[in-house]
Symmetry: D2
Subunit: 133 residues, 4 copies
């Protein structure tokens, strides 16, 4: 069991949402931030650099938004729900765009792995938004 889930179970704030959904979103956003940071580096090592520029740009934004999302979701007590909803929506949106772009380069293993991480985070964010509504 991840630390995230253990933490959520250990102090039981009023989550206004299932702890499993919340933990899944935190883990997915944190993993996606790492995958996108690594994919940026891998993209920069490719010979056909000009074709990777859009992928790099999306990975950079995806990293930053995923990091903020994981941090904000990790502090569930006394949350400002309207800001959190917009942030999780932004995270789903950038993961969708970044996942689409990475999939176009899926013949490169680093982009295929990154696309997977983006898809999982996109889904986890949308599941959380559904549960919040």
């Amino acid at each position: 069991m991840s630390y995230v889930r253990q933490m959520l179970d250990s102090y039981s704030p009023a989550l206004a949402v299932d702890a499993g959904l919340l933990a899944a979103a935190i883990d997915a956003a944190s993993d996606c931030a790492q995958a996108c940071a690594a994919d940026t580096d891998a993209d920069l090592s490719e010979p056909n650099l000009a074709e990777m520029v859009t992928c790099i740009r999306l990975c950079l934004d995806c990293t930053d938004i995923c990091i903020a999302t994981a941090a904000v979701l990790s502090r569930p007590a006394g949350r400002d729900l309207s800001a959190a909803r917009l942030l999780v929506g932004a995270c789903a949106a950038i993961c969708q765009s970044c996942g689409d772009e990475c999939e176009r380069h899926a013949h490169m293993p680093h982009c295929r792995v990154c696309a997977e991480a983006c898809r999982r985070c996109d889904r986890a964010c949308r599941d959380l938004l559904d549960a919040w509504h």
Copy 2:
């Protein structure tokens, strides 16, 4: 003139928005992130700690969202506009909530300064959103 404005003027990407509005939002988000980080520390130094908990929680979320917003806005070329709009909306929302809470403690100079930083960032984000629509 801030580095931000000099950078935007120096390479002129297709901004889809006035460079002044964009630079104002980047500067305001960056300043607000700093003010909120410092206000967290100042709140934790107050004797009436229980009264500061909501303020601390909002400042923490505000810091993280402002940092992501400043970073994403600083890379305007080839932007995914739908994700950026949601992120800037989240930034305005958390700055409004955090500014409201800090204003309730405006007799403490550190919360008064932080409220100012939140108000300025809230406004700059909303100006940018208006221009994007």
Copy 3:
């Protein structure tokens, strides 16, 4: 296998270090950032708030340093090794301090879990530093 390890295996930059050690440090820093963010929130929910202030302060610094460390380590190609070494050293140092403080509150399950995350990250950073020397 984590995304991190898959990414490192997929494009094989000249790592100047064993990929397993590097992946372990990235995963540990990313997990520790999440645990510390959640522990901050849990600490703020405790009734004896005054006793938690040192723990909150250390968790905040630990979160920020772990996030930077995970991001920088995730981009291994063409690294500036002198800056990376100091950063990983800072990460080990804050994880040690934060782990010590969390251990003092180990009767609270959230601090016990956070102490574990800090210990693991401290060790992974020191293993990486040993391998780099």
Copy 4:
């Protein structure tokens, strides 16, 4: 006067260092993070992309380390000084490397501005380290 200096003056923690030096380092790190994020974007817009890869890599690390440094320095009360020293040292080191690389491209206005931001942050970090010793 920046928000940072107003914040530091407003609650007067035991800083163990001159408030002006501390505020200068926070402002310089925050400005440098923004300049490096913008320079990454500008570099990615250059036609001779292969020549910009080292600059992009250094700017990415510099952004992340500067953000962590600004955040940690903004919370001066009750600081873990050994971790902070290593972090500020890492910040000076990456600013030096990134400034050197940007200076090699100083015929591009965006790299010239970024080099300035790196130099200022490098100096502010070293001044702070000198005062801490």
